[in-house]
């Protein structure tokens, strides 16, 4: 009787996590045409920053605020130093960002000593509605995801920065001719995508705990979600992430978790094969 709302909430909160992780990946892939293989490691880094702040005795929410800033700054630097050399060759970019990810992942593995480290939830306990209990932190994740989604969309669709980003996406040479510094726009977009991943990592670390391979799982999930949703638009990755997140949370209720996990990916690959342009075709950010 009570399992249905609980299940719905589980699905919703896990879907929100996937959306949060995928958003940054999707923005970088859609706006810059680069599949960033280091994105999973940006998530990991966000989680690690939160852990560091927690371990020196400062409150966890402070770490969660610091994580996107630190990871975003790192993304900015990496874009300036490394990633910008790859724009001409998207495939090389995949390999280059993969190498970056490897460095970050192994560095974190060395720093954590390969252990599973846990970070407490800043808001513990549960919210009780009638006879149902919902974990409070998961509710917070859902709310923050919605806020971040809305803010990102607003940033890209309504601000002058967003206009510049879209202009650089649609026609880089005309954008440059109009006086937009496309190089700077790309750096900032990449940093923004990295910061979103950092935030995602910071928010999910109390749920998943910190370990070096945290990023890999989300990387594959994120890529599949972006491809299912469709590269090139804002709505695409979000739609894809919702589908993948819902499936990954819902299928384990029906069958064994291993089979469910595999089935999600197989279904997604078939979907991409049948509909290569993704669920949401078209480019740009819809107002």
């Amino acid at each position: 009787m009570d399992t249905l709302p609980i299940a719905m909430f589980e699905i919703l909160s896990f879907g929100a996590i996937v959306v949060l992780v995928v958003l940054g990946l999707g923005i970088i892939a859609s706006m810059m045409g680069i599949f960033n293989f280091a994105q999973g490691e940006f998530v990991l880094l966000g989680a690690y920053v939160t852990y560091l702040v927690h371990s020196v005795g400062l409150p966890v929410p402070l770490g969660m605020l610091a994580a996107p800033v630190v990871v975003g700054a790192l993304g900015f630097i990496l874009e300036k130093l490394v990633v910008r050399r790859f724009y001409a060759a998207p495939i090389v970019a995949m390999l280059g960002t993969y190498a970056l990810g490897l460095i970050i992942r192994e560095a974190v593995r060395g720093l954590t000593g390969g252990l599973y480290l846990s970070v407490p939830e800043p808001i513990s306990g549960s919210i009780t509605i009638g006879s149902l209990h919902f974990a409070a932190w998961r509710c917070v994740i859902v709310i923050i995801t919605l806020l971040v989604m809305a803010a990102s969309h607003a940033l890209l669709a309504y601000t002058s920065f967003g206009l510049r980003v879209r202009a650089s996406l649609e026609n880089p040479s005309l954008a440059r001719a109009s006086g937009i510094s496309t190089g700077m726009i790309y750096s900032l977009t990449f940093a923004f995508g990295a910061a979103l991943a950092g935030l995602a990592g910071a928010l999910i670390v109390p749920v998943f705990s910190l370990f070096a391979d945290l990023g890999i799982r989300f990387l594959i999930q994120g890529f599949v979600a972006v491809m299912v949703g469709g590269v090139g638009s804002f709505a695409g990755p979000v739609a894809g992430a919702s589908v993948i997140g819902t499936l990954s949370a819902w299928l384990p209720w029906l069958m064994s978790p291993v089979i469910a996990d595999v089935l999600v990916f197989v279904l997604a690959i078939i979907l991409i094969k049948v509909r290569p342009q993704g669920l949401v075709s078209g480019r740009g950010v819809n107002r």
Partner: protein, 358 residues
Amino acid sequence: MSSTGTRTQPPPRVIQAARSPIMASAFTGRKKVLLILELALLIAASIAPIVLPDYITVYATRVLILCLFALSFDLVWGYAGILSLGQSLFFGMAGYGVALLARDFGVGSIFAVLPAGTLIGFVAALLLAGFLLLGRHPSSVVFVSLGTMTGAYAADRLARGSHYLGGQNGIPSIPPMTIGSHELSEGPVFYYLVLAILVLIYLLSRFLLRSQFGLALAGLRENEQRIAFFGYKVQHLKAIIFAVSGAIAGTAGSLYAFHEGFVWPNMLGVVMSTQVVLYVLFGGSGTLIGAIIGTAIVEGLSFWLSDTYRDIWPVILGALLLLVILFRPLGLISLLLGERERVGSFGPNREEKRNAAP
């Protein structure tokens, strides 16, 4: 009409020029570097077990098997431009396949298990290629890489969850491979066996890639559309090379299973397939010898350094890889070999034509 008719016939003088030994030696100057390199490596590999202590020979055998595996990835990525991030799927499936044959059916004869492993790799790759590469829409590189990676991830998960396959621990203590009544264990004999297989497959691949088929592959790596306009069935070419590489990965996987004596889920998963990407990028994709050199260097370095610098070794490896990708996109081999030898020369050489032209 008559003029076009004569133009399609090659002038006989050019053919003669191509066969004249003086002309032929004029354009092999660069090519000799590759040949010398290959021969030097072969000689070094042949005498290695004689000069090296036994425990290093065992390690070297593993490196040779990994070289074979790297070769299979190089064929698809370096030559056909298919970024297969799930090459370990074929490697691991063949490994598990032969391990099950040995465990449950007592089949250990090399003449049964190696063909079986190769066949498993071939069939698995053919099926995956049929799904990923063939079809109405041509598949994007990103889709193929994602699809293969998902395949490896899924296989890894399933193997970990399967009781029959031994779960997390895999299948331990596989009975040794046999030739007739002789049991093959680690050591020089196994080493030379693997070396012979590697050389054989290397030569076969070299022959395949220097043929018309190899030229078409190199063409589709550089510009897929143009090759399609020439009338080649691009997707079929890709599927064929993918299946061939799957077969080679299968051979490597079955050798690996018997050499190590056990198989475990990591052999199937993303860890192993990223490892092989690393080898090939490091050495230089698009040259067969580059894959071999890359594997030898990465494994050799990790043999030395992973003891002393256990924690930071993977970080160093990642940084080296990044540097190679940034500054030497064609890999370390490009320090020695020219761009031209990535493809090889076909037909009468250009210089030769210039000399021979009336």
